[in-house]
Symmetry: C2
């Protein structure tokens, strides 16, 4: 149940329309909570019905018309409540690790190419995060908000760093094996 809270956070950072939110979920927020435009429109409808957000610019709500939303006090309160509430971590699901375990049983034939592709994807993501860090978090700025957001970005950087290293090692191991 995190999607509504992801949307509330995004709207508090900046009131937006559905499509603008979709774009921000393709970068920024989406790096750790992805969502498609269908999910976003549905959830915007629910949040409005619950009184957590409200449409700005009361143009006629026609189909091709842009509709922007802002967060109401009730929405901010709900987000604060959720942020502070205890939540158990969700169990992981990682298809790549599963595939390696499967490969231990059925053989590694054909696996190398996709491992290499994943390595390249993680390298690119890492480069993108590092670019964001250079741009948005130059040494010296020091508000509480900056430190928190930088911490989140550091998690992304460190995780991508881990995956590039792990995949490099995995590729070396798989390359050294008979294809069976």
């Amino acid at each position: 149940m995190s999607l509504p809270h992801a949307i509330l956070t995004a709207l508090l950072e900046k009131p937006s329309s559905g499509l603008e939110l979709t774009r921000r979920f393709d970068r920024s927020i989406g790096y750790f909570w992805s969502a498609t435009h269908q999910q976003i429109y549905r959830e915007l409808g629910r949040l409005e019905a619950e009184g957590h957000i409200r449409a700005l610019a009361p143009a006629q709500p026609a189909r091709g018309q842009k509709k922007s939303y802002e967060v109401l006090p009730a929405g901010r309160a709900e987000l604060a409540r959720w942020t502070a509430a205890a939540q158990d971590p969700k169990p992981h699901r990682d298809a790549l690790l599963l595939r390696l375990r499967a490969a231990a049983v059925v053989g590694t034939a054909g696996l190398q190419a996709d491992l290499g592709r994943h390595l390249e994807l993680h390298r690119r993501q890492l480069a993108e995060y590092e670019e964001i860090e250079r741009r948005d978090f130059p040494p010296g700025r020091d508000t509480a908000e900056d430190r928190l957001r930088h911490l989140v970005l550091r998690a992304g950087i460190d995780l991508e760093t881990f995956w590039t290293q792990w995949l490099t090692q995995a590729l070396a191991e798989v390359a050294a094996m008979p294809s069976e």
Copy 2:
């Protein structure tokens, strides 16, 4: 679409009944692909209908009767196909990172306790993985299967190590902030 392949892998490692699989998904396999017993029974039914697995010990298939399954050649072939096929990584979803980003907007009040709880959970998971490494991967063993499974376990260990370090730093940062 990875659950059937997780089950095929588990059944190839060792033919099992639904409940035995459920238990193994609570350790081992479940560390990177979790599943509940309801999912497992539903999927066992599908896999049997598709001819990928078959029930062993042809006792009458009554309700409280144990029913074990083994993988058929078609199931092994499907698993090999899936293992080698190119797959895009699924986008991440991490509620804790989202909460930190939300806290940058609504304040960090109440967050510390749950960060500490998560840190403790990750420490325990790390200790469990390290225990498994000591037990199952003593220096010297060197089959291809061992190396692959060890690689998967190392990913678990390194990820948990990352989270304990990251959470330690996050706690320090949050503790140093005014609660707003």
